[in-house]
C-alpha cells in the first residue's frame, strides 16, 4: 500500500495499464467520465467525456471531499468511509478509495445505475490496486538503484529563475 508521505511517481508503462483499466470500466459501467486522483488532489488519469470538464478543479475538490469525510469518519471511530455517492438530477458521482491513497471517481447518468457502477468499480478497484502496488515497488527500486537518474538532480538555480521570467 502507498504510504501517506511517499512521493507519487508515474511511469509510462503503468500509466497505460491504468488508462486501459479505466477505459474498460467506463464501457462496462456505462459511465460518462472516470478519473483517478491522488489523495493530495493531483489528477492521475482521466477518461471519457472530459472535454468540457475542469478536471483539475474536480480533482482538488474530490480530494477535499474525501479528506473532509475521512475527518468525519475518525470523529465517530471509523477508519474511513471508502465509498461516497452524490446523486444529482441528471448526473451522479460515485467516489471510492483504492489501496488507501488513490481515489476513483465515476460520473454517470440515467444510462447506468448505482448498482451496476458499484459492481464494476469493485472489480476494477482490485485490478487498479495491483497496478499501484507494482508502481510503488518500481519507485522504490528506482530510488535505491541510483539517485542520479532523477531528471531533477541536475536542475540549476537558473532553471528555476527562468520559470518566473
Amino acid at each position: 500500500m502507498l504510504g501517506p508521505q511517499s512521493s507519487l511517481v508515474m511511469y509510462d508503462e503503468e500509466y497505460q495499464r491504468i488508462l486501459q483499466l479505466l477505459e474498460k470500466l467506463l464501457r462496462e459501467a456505462n459511465s460518462k467520465v472516470i478519473f483517478l486522483v491522488d489523495k493530495n488532489g493531483q489528477l492521475i488519469a482521466a477518461t471519457g467525456e472530459t472535454e468540457n470538464l475542469d478536471t483539475t478543479s474536480l480533482a482538488s475538490l474530490t480530494a477535499g471531499n474525501i479528506a473532509a469525510t475521512g475527518g468525519l469518519a475518525k470523529l465517530i471511530g471509523e477508519k474511513e468511509f471508502s465509498i461516497l455517492f452524490h446523486e444529482g438530477e441528471k448526473d451522479n458521482i460515485h467516489i471510492s478509495i483504492i489501496g488507501g491513497r488513490v481515489i476513483l471517481v465515476v460520473i454517470f447518468d440515467q444510462r447506468s445505475s448505482l448498482g451496476l457502477v458499484r459492481l464494476r468499480v469493485k472489480k476494477a478497484s482490485n485490478e487498479l490496486a495491483v497496478v499501484f502496488e507494482d508502481l510503488v515497488n518500481k519507485t522504490e527500486q528506482e530510488a535505491s538503484s541510483s539517485s542520479a537518474s532523477s531528471p531533477f538532480a541536475e536542475i540549476t538555480d537558473d532553471d528555476i529563475d527562468n520559470l518566473f521570467n
Partner: protein, 195 residues
C-alpha cells in the same frame, strides 16, 4: 508530496498558505490569479462563507513552464485562518511540499501570529511532517498599514530559523510573487535532492 509523472512529463507540487484569520492568504492567491496569463492558470476555487471568509480552502492551479522537459505545475492552497476551523485546516496540509506563513504585521495581531505558527507546527506533526525540514518561507503582510510591528521584531519572534522572509502588501501585490518564487525555489531544490 510531489507527483512526478513520467507519462505526461509533469511535476506537480502542493504549496499551502497558512496564517491567522484575515492575514491575507486568500488575497495573495487572488493577486496571483489576477496577474497570471490565462494559459498559465486554471480556475480559482474558493470554498468560502457568505461573508467571504474561507470555509475550507482556496485552490489555484498554476503552470509555471518547463524545467528539463518537465512541465512544472504548482497547486496553491490556503487554509481557513479562523481558530475554530482547525479540523478542516489540518486536512489541507496533507501531502504538502512547501508552506508560506503569512503573518499579519499589525501590532494587535502579534499574538494571533504566534498562535497560528504553533498551530501549523502541531498540525504538520500530526501529518508526519517536521516544519524544520519542510520548504518554508514567511511573508510579513500589510506593511502599508500604520500600526505595524517592526520587521525585526516579527522576525525575532516568528523566524528563529531564519528561513527566507519577505515584506508584503497583498492588496497591492507587493511581495506576492516574490514570496511565491521563494517557496517554489525551495520546493524545486528539495526535489533536486530527491526529497
Amino acid at each position: 508530496m510531489s507527483f512526478i509523472n513520467y507519462a505526461s512529463r509533469e511535476i506537480n507540487c502542493k504549496i499551502v498558505y497558512y496564517g491567522p484569520g484575515l492575514c491575507g492568504k486568500t488575497t495573495n492567491l487572488q493577486f496571483i490569479y489576477n496577474k497570471t496569463a490565462e494559459e498559465a492558470k486554471g480556475k480559482m476555487i474558493s470554498l468560502a462563507t457568505e461573508t467571504e471568509r474561507t470555509l475550507f480552502f482556496d485552490f489555484l492551479p498554476l503552470a509555471l513552464g518547463e524545467i528539463r522537459g518537465f512541465k512544472t505545475r504548482f497547486h496553491l492552497y490556503t487554509v481557513p485562518g479562523q481558530v475554530f476551523y482547525d479540523a478542516s485546516r489540518k486536512l489541507i496540509l496533507k501531502g504538502v511540499d512547501g508552506v508560506v506563513f503569512v503573518a499579519d504585521s499589525q501590532e494587535e495581531r502579534f499574538d494571533a501570529n504566534i498562535e497560528s505558527l504553533e498551530n501549523l507546527k502541531d498540525n504538520l506533526e500530526e501529518q508526519g511532517f517536521d516544519l524544520e525540514k519542510l520548504p518554508f518561507v514567511i511573508q510579513y503582510n500589510k506593511r502599508d498599514l500604520p500600526n505595524v510591528s517592526s520587521v525585526e521584531e516579527l522576525s525575532n519572534l516568528l523566524n528563529p530559523r531564519k528561513v527566507p522572509e519577505l515584506e508584503g502588501c497583498a492588496m497591492t501585490g507587493e511581495g506576492v510573487f516574490e514570496t511565491l518564487k521563494a517557496v517554489a525555489k525551495l520546493v524545486l531544490n528539495n526535489l533536486k535532492k530527491g526529497g
